[in-house]
Amino acid sequence: MISDEQTILEVKDLKIHFKLHEGLLKAVDGVDLSLRKKETLGIVGESGSGKSVTTQSILRIIPQTAHLEGEIILRSEETGKNINLATLPMNGKEIRKIRGGEISMIFQEPMKAFSPVHTIGNQMMETVLLHRTKDKNEAKEIVLQSLREVGMSNPEQRFDEYPHQLSGGMRQRAMIAMALASNPAILIADEPTTALDVTLQAQVLELMNNLKEKTGTSIIFITHDLGVIAEMSDNVAVMYLGQVMEYTDVDTLFHGAKHPYTLALLKSMPSVGAAENKRLEAIEGNVPTPINLPKGCRFFSRCKLAQDGVCNVQDIPLVKIEDGHYVRCVLVDEKNRGGR
């Protein structure tokens, strides 16, 4: 993937393995990603595709038992230096400064993501006091301002309220406010709208897009919902079983995707214009557990185009098809080469 001076975060050949009794679980197996300034990178994939682990490893908040390899390079705006997050000591001072500071995170279920016994204000102040200012009054001002920016009604009152006193939508707004209160360069949103109903989803997505325009924050947006990807992303990485299957810009994803898995995902998405009584095409089976996987394509067991002796011989590389469009599929690769 291209990296230029606009690149703010680069993940190179990231591997996250867990040693289990059953064998080596390869949750993430050679992922490359790059994020540019003011860009929104969507990561889409089914449950178990490794999208959450990938992003959590950027903040190094994955379990200590995980074995992490590869590079995670952050071009720090504060210091102007490149920092390899993958080599920083876990829970050390340097990584803690980045967590919630230069990179902050929004989680799926705001009810669970907030501590139920501390006020919203208390939990937001914590971030601000760690990353913005040591002055309590100033910190409170920043928190209130941040709550105002996400459209929270009555921020002074909300400040002293507990998570369970807010509605689901308000809670997720508070979560976003907390993440943005520290002025992060990168915002990682891990399925932030999955737990919300559709109207609230739309509101929260719009809010995030607006805030991105205003603050210029880069966003990594994780979801399994292609509709949300269409609304949010500039570039998209389609992940399956710990690998990036296809990486492209959002228009190409919907109109010129090449990988059989991406195509299958697109077909399984309901659309308004589709003919009545037409069944959605689901992808057969489930994502297998990534333990002791056979050589070859990860999608082999579920792929309709899979060819024995071609796809399951050796591991498939991610190949550049056009500028900014990468696909991990032998068949697509051959077709393109043959065509040229």
Binding site: R99, G100, G101, F107, E109, A113, P116, L130, H164
Partner: protein, 332 residues
């Protein structure tokens, strides 16, 4: 908050009335009463008892009245005169029989509770945070021993061991010269020298259990999303641990204070008998065996009231530390 406490206090009134009725019914349930036991004993020892004497005794103890009248008299005297009735067996007012003992029992109970918490919670936290470490295994092992060995056995072993090594009999709460004496500085010192034995023994089983509970609760909380959120905000591990998961893991422990209180008081009866302590356990056992109804009834009543108070205290504490309870339900 005040509103909540007031609400809870009002709820106590019907509860306590119901408890007192149930207790009175229960102590009336076994066939016969103190007099029949008493007469039986007299007859066994060869003394003939004639009918008029029996009637006389029945009248004297108020046993010829209907049960509900007996209940109302008992309640009236408790509420207005702080008079729990007379113990047939001791021929003394119940308050006099158990007054000192209740105090000492409470003292041992509270010390045991503190001992348990001070030892168990830090160990539980350590075991959870360093799960499967060598010390976790060691504490787990010791904990299971503590759970499995009956308290009175530990008591016997300690008493024997101390006696064997020092020649000192550590049973009882006071040195022999202070038994039956009024309270004095010397008596207090003598008590403090000996009270650790029952406190440690009564506390051991509780400690083992509490270590397991704390460990399990904290392990549950450590994996929760809000811990990851706090970590993702850049909060240092130690600060994070005490502010979030430990705070939440303590909640269910606080709610157990309610039943720890009476359990500490009644559950240690055998230990108290083994150690020959001037506390309530042995007296209660005796009263129940001899159908000394006012003594037994008063005991049960006091234990129940303590349970209710314990529950109230833990509810108030819970409401204080957990806003979900404080605001839940009361606002509607």
């Amino acid at each position: 908050m005040l509103n909540y406490i007031g609400h809870r206090l009002l709820q106590l009134i019907p509860l306590l009335i119901a408890i007192s009725i149930i207790i009175f019914v229960i102590i009336q349930l076994p066939p016969g009463n103190y007099l029949t036991t008493y007469i039986q004993q007299l007859e066994l020892s060869g003394t003939a008892v004639n009918q008029s004497e029996v009637l006389n005794l029945q009248h004297q103890y108020g046993l010829d009245q209907p049960v509900y009248v007996q209940y109302f008299i008992w309640m009236k005297n408790i509420l207005f005169h702080w008079d729990f009735g007379n113990s047939f067996q001791w021929q003394e007012p119940v308050t006099k029989v158990i007054g000192d003992r209740i105090g000492l029992t409470m003292l041992i109970a509270i010390f045991s509770l503190i001992f348990t918490w001070v030892i168990a919670i830090p160990i539980g936290i350590y075991s959870a945070v360093r799960q499967y470490s060598i010390f976790d295994y060691i504490f787990t092992f010791i904990g299971y021993i503590g759970l499995a060995v009956p308290n009175f056995l530990i008591a016997l072993v300690i008493v024997f061991y101390v006696f064997d090594h020092t020649g000192l009999a550590i049973s009882g709460l006071f040195a022999p010269e202070y038994v039956g004496q009024p309270w004095s500085w010397g008596k207090i010192v003598s008590m403090l020298e000996r009270i650790w034995v029952p406190v440690v023994i009564v506390g051991t089983a509780g400690t083992a259990g509490l270590i397991r509970t704390t460990r399990a609760m904290l392990l549950d909380e450590l994996g929760k999303q809000y811990v990851i959120t706090a970590r993702a905000k850049g909060v240092a591990e130690k600060k994070l641990l005490f502010k979030y998961p430990i705070r939440l893991a303590i909640n269910p422990l606080v709610s157990t204070i309610g039943w720890t209180l009476p359990a500490l008081i009644s559950g240690s009866a055998i230990v108290e008998i083994v150690l020959n302590l001037p506390t309530t356990g042995p007296v209660l056992l005796n009263a129940l065996m001899n159908q000394d109804m006012y003594l037994a009834g008063s005991f049960l009543l006091i234990l129940s009231v303590l349970t209710v108070i314990g529950t109230l205290i833990s509810d108030i504490l819970l409401a204080w530390i957990d806003p979900r309870i404080r605001f839940g339900g009361m606002e509607e």
